[in-house]
Symmetry: C2
Subunit: 227 residues, 2 copies
DNA sequence: TTTGACCGAGTTGTCGACAATCTTTGCGCT
DNA sequence: AGCGCAAAGATTGTCGACAACTCGGTCAAA
């Protein structure tokens, strides 16, 4: 982030950590085809290290469900199917609903102000970009990130950001971005922020759960039409 | 293929997997003091393997927050503090609430029957054992396990059983079992099962959330009294 | 006395080589 | 021709050794 050149050498201390981040990024972005088999030696030379650190990185990626490993056979890049994505959305609904509730209770005033500013910026950009799906996805991510952080619950944040979001993003790269609904989502975001600003935990949780439930149903609808 | 003795070679395929399970068990049970520093060589000889597989196991335990690692310094056994436990209970409330909802919708009739049978067995044992806390803990665990499995949501189950429960159990071994409330908890269990049997997802989720919220408040109360 | 650097012991990080296992290929048999 | 088995090849699992780093102690200088 801060060292434009040669940052990969110093930013991450050990080779295992470096490989972990690089490989995770490559998987999430779809640079390595999901479901494909990859050899350890192949990956080791690709990331310029030995098999030892690589295997440590693989064990961590296995914990995050980004690679699947069968002993003595090898590893394959995880492929998030439709059914698994729907499962994750139910988990997301539960966790982010709780996050919104806790955010309403625990967010500082400055955090709330920042959230409102973010929303205002989205309104500007959306007015410009109309229905550009991809941008809204990124903005959507920022919005949810802030609320999760605003819950001030590290365990909750770690589960959502550290585990689920990578898998969801992988799916988005995998299938070419299902139809989303920027303008409708934006309105829902606005009401969620209003509830947080009013410190109404019950309402914030309910609105967030509806928001994510709608997103899930939208995916389900999209799947039915294209199947 | 047939070696009756030395079966520990067969039970878990690789040494890394064996160490992972053994070490996780040792940590959760408190055999290794929480917060203590342990050397890699020391652990390697303890589990009869080399440092390679051990380090792979450590990386997985790190993902599960059972050990903390700082590069070039070493690893220390995780110690779940009071604040972290409360955080986890909020996550649990969200996830198991959703699990109860999904269980009400997706559990098969035989699964529901099994759940009712389990509850009946608890009633018998509880009548005998009165207020024995530890037993209720185990029975409590079984009860929650079944509902989580009954949700038929693998992602949800993995998060709860694969991650959170280990940490909670570690806390139970750490502080000598906070006061629980077997008879009250049992009544709450019963009502949850009734809601599931009636296929009332809304009610099941609400009751489960109240159940876990009460448990959390009980811990908080216990903490205030003993601090 | 205190501060600072230096040095050595011990631990972690990394690597290459060897052993164990799976997969594939090719041969022989029915 | 098809099937089964066996050997070869390739890949993963494991180990021991060396390099890099951290931490504690020691000594010298202000």
């Amino acid at each position: 982030m801060f060292n434009p050149e040669f940052d990969d050498i110093k930013t991450l201390r050990t080779a295992a950590d470096r490989v972990f981040e690089s490989l995770q990024d490559a998987i999430v972005r779809g640079e390595i085809p999901p479901g494909s088999r990859v050899g350890e030696t192949e990956l080791a030379v690709r990331f310029g290290t030995s098999r030892g650190p690589l295997r440590e990185a693989l064990r961590r990626l296995e914990s995050r469900h980004l690679v699947e490993r069968t002993p003595h056979v090898g590893i394959r890049i995880a492929s998030l199917g439709y059914a698994a994505l729907i499962e994750i959305y139910y988990v997301r609904e539960a966790l982010e609903g709780m996050a919104a509730r806790l955010a309403a209770l625990h967010m500082t005033d400055t955090e709330v102000a920042g959230l409102k500013a973010l929303l205002a910026a989205h309104e500007q950009d959306e007015a410009l970009k109309a229905d550009t799906a991809y941008f809204q996805q990124e903005g959507d991510l920022d919005f949810h990130y802030r609320i999760i952080q605003g819950s001030h619950n590290a365990a909750l944040a770690e589960m959502l950001i550290g585990e689920l979001y990578h898998r969801i993003r992988m799916y988005r790269y995998q299938v070419s971005a299902y139809a989303n609904r920027p303008q409708k989502a934006f309105a829902e975001h606005q009401r969620i922020v209003e509830a947080i600003e009013a410190r109404d935990g019950d309402l914030a949780e309910m609105l967030m759960r509806r928001h994510l439930s709608s997103a899930r149903q939208n995916i389900e609808k999209h799947q039915k039409e294209h199947a």
